[in-house]
Symmetry: C2
């Protein structure tokens, strides 16, 4: 097994050593054209809804801790440890507190475990469209997420017919609203389909992929239990233990599209949640100071651009959606 | 002097500890609105000229060495040293070789020396619009650069009148073409104005700033001598020792706007130039392999978005143009 993995890694590695050459293939040109059109469509939609686009944060003293077993890039910043953003969620809240409706194209790096190189859905560097809306509920955020995805899909369908044909991709038109399954309903749905999983954890990749194949259209999983997510997902006051959060799942087995939530923004609550999830509050000093002074409630989400491209183009591997992609354990350009 | 610097650093540091709060001021809202409008105008212009926008590279085994005394962020990448992009110039050439006319919004990190915190024009993290054009001369690239700047300036003038008024900014309308001074002419111009500098080096900040004040409109400095720039700036075959490159300079003392060149893309020549500039070719293995297999000639440039914003808004400090800005030696959010 060890040998199989290392042989597979070698094969991928050889292929990616020449990733600078892949960009010359008609296939890659079609993929990148579709990606560009999709990003442009999403920007136009968000602009029409009153969002402002900011330059993204790149590094900081602290970044999102909720990255499922991946490691962050840390480095010496004039005598202190800083990190490359693994997700800029804390900065989104700062920006939202002044500007109301914001987004940025966030460059993220996550040093994933080596076996992630073969999942077809993990990249070490990727970009997410990260947005936040002041005074919004998670239902408001889901409404933006589904319209955003519809904009991307339908615009690509309308303007990239020859590229989709070249990729042999039959991309169905989408219309909102999308179905919503609670976490509890999702577990029951899985159980009926022969998959048992423990209550209280994030839904594992393989189960998520199965759901993504079975449901037949994009859908939301909402209301995760408290233990499963970061300290910034807000707990429902009327349903203790249930978070007001969501994932948006692609159909056809393409898995997670977007992940979002209503934010817990009250200082005391965040502090308690940090302790619960084993985070050291001292690391988050600026963030906690900001919360103590007070910011508006908000909701938001992030949507990975390479995974979106994978879905739009019907790609087997997410790394096909990026110039010189970085995969865990592979020393490519 | 030491004490003065450290007092000044302390003062700036205190101010930036609460940089998350600055985004709530009407001033900052006006600045970020103008930045967003300018980026949108530049994107529209480039799209209309047939450019495709890509997701930017974030990390890699090697990044641009030409960063004037700043240090790169390095980290352990599965057992090898990787870097956060200080400039993605090598990747631009890869992308151009497949797609012809490309650009991306490139997230860059440069650990500048501590005294750069006070120049008003340096940031540790920033974004540049980085573009590359296959089969183009540096005159073609300059033509795109000046039209790009005109688009940004004139669109902001037309659509952000109230923001410009709030900032008390009188932003003059621009029309191409801009004046071009050779490096030699620039040194002569400086000499006439009482500034002597040694032939063969980059033009120092203070001299550049003086020029930026004196010339009265945006202008290009072209044809730097070979010792002054990176290995990728192409030497003029008919004028040995002279590079086919340029800087675009803002008026009113705002200094450098864009920096670009025709690329040296021939394997043997690049190798010789690397040796000349003290670069270790082994570090550039993928890049050199790409050049050996052959890529088209090209020209391109990068334009810093925060510096553009500084000029558009008439700001004293470039850090005012960014959410939670990072300045050398200051541990702000």
């Amino acid at each position: 097994m060890e040998t199989e993995v290392s042989l597979e890694l070698q094969r991928l590695s050889q292929q990616l050593q020449q990733s600078w050459k892949i960009v010359r293939t008609p296939r890659m040109k079609a993929i990148l054209k579709i990606q560009d059109i999709a990003c442009d469509a999403m920007r136009s939609y968000l602009r029409s809804e009153g969002f402002i686009e900011l330059l993204p944060p790149i590094i900081g003293p602290v970044t999102d801790p909720g990255i499922r077993g991946a490691k962050q890039v840390t480095f010496d910043y004039y005598g202190r440890e800083y990190k490359v953003m693994s997700s800029a969620i804390l900065y989104k809240q700062a920006a939202m507190s002044g500007l109301g409706k914001i987004f940025f194209m966030s460059p993220n790096v996550r040093l994933e475990p080596i076996d992630s190189a073969f999942t077809g859905r993990h990249l070490v560097e990727f970009v997410q469209l990260d947005l936040e809306i002041a005074e919004a509920t998670y239902f408001d955020a889901m409404s933006v997420a589904e319209r955003l995805l519809c904009e991307a899909v339908n615009t690509v369908r309308d303007t990239c017919q020859s590229e989709l044909e070249y990729l042999n991709r039959n991309l169905p038109r989408l219309t909102p609203p999308f179905k919503k399954l609670t976490y509890d309903e999702t577990l029951e749905y899985l159980r009926v389909n022969g998959v048992k999983m423990r209550y209280g954890i994030e839904i594992p990749w393989d189960a998520e992929q199965l759901l993504s194949k079975l449901v037949g259209e994009p859908f939301f999983i909402i209301d995760y239990p408290r233990g499963a997510r970061g300290f910034y997902d807000r707990e429902d006051e009327k349903r203790p233990g249930i978070l007001r959060d969501f994932d948006l799942i692609y159909p056809e087995g393409y898995g997670e599209c977007a992940s979002g939530a209503e934010r817990e923004h009250r200082y005391e609550k965040v502090l308690a949640r940090m302790k619960e999830t084993g985070e050291d509050p001292r690391k988050y000093s600026w963030y906690l100071e900001m919360l103590r002074e007070g910011i508006p409630p908000s909701a938001g989400f992030g949507i990975g651009i390479e995974r979106l491209t994978r879905y739009l183009c019907g790609l087997e591997y997410v790394w096909e959606a990026r110039l010189c992609p970085k995969l865990a354990g592979i020393h490519s350009p």
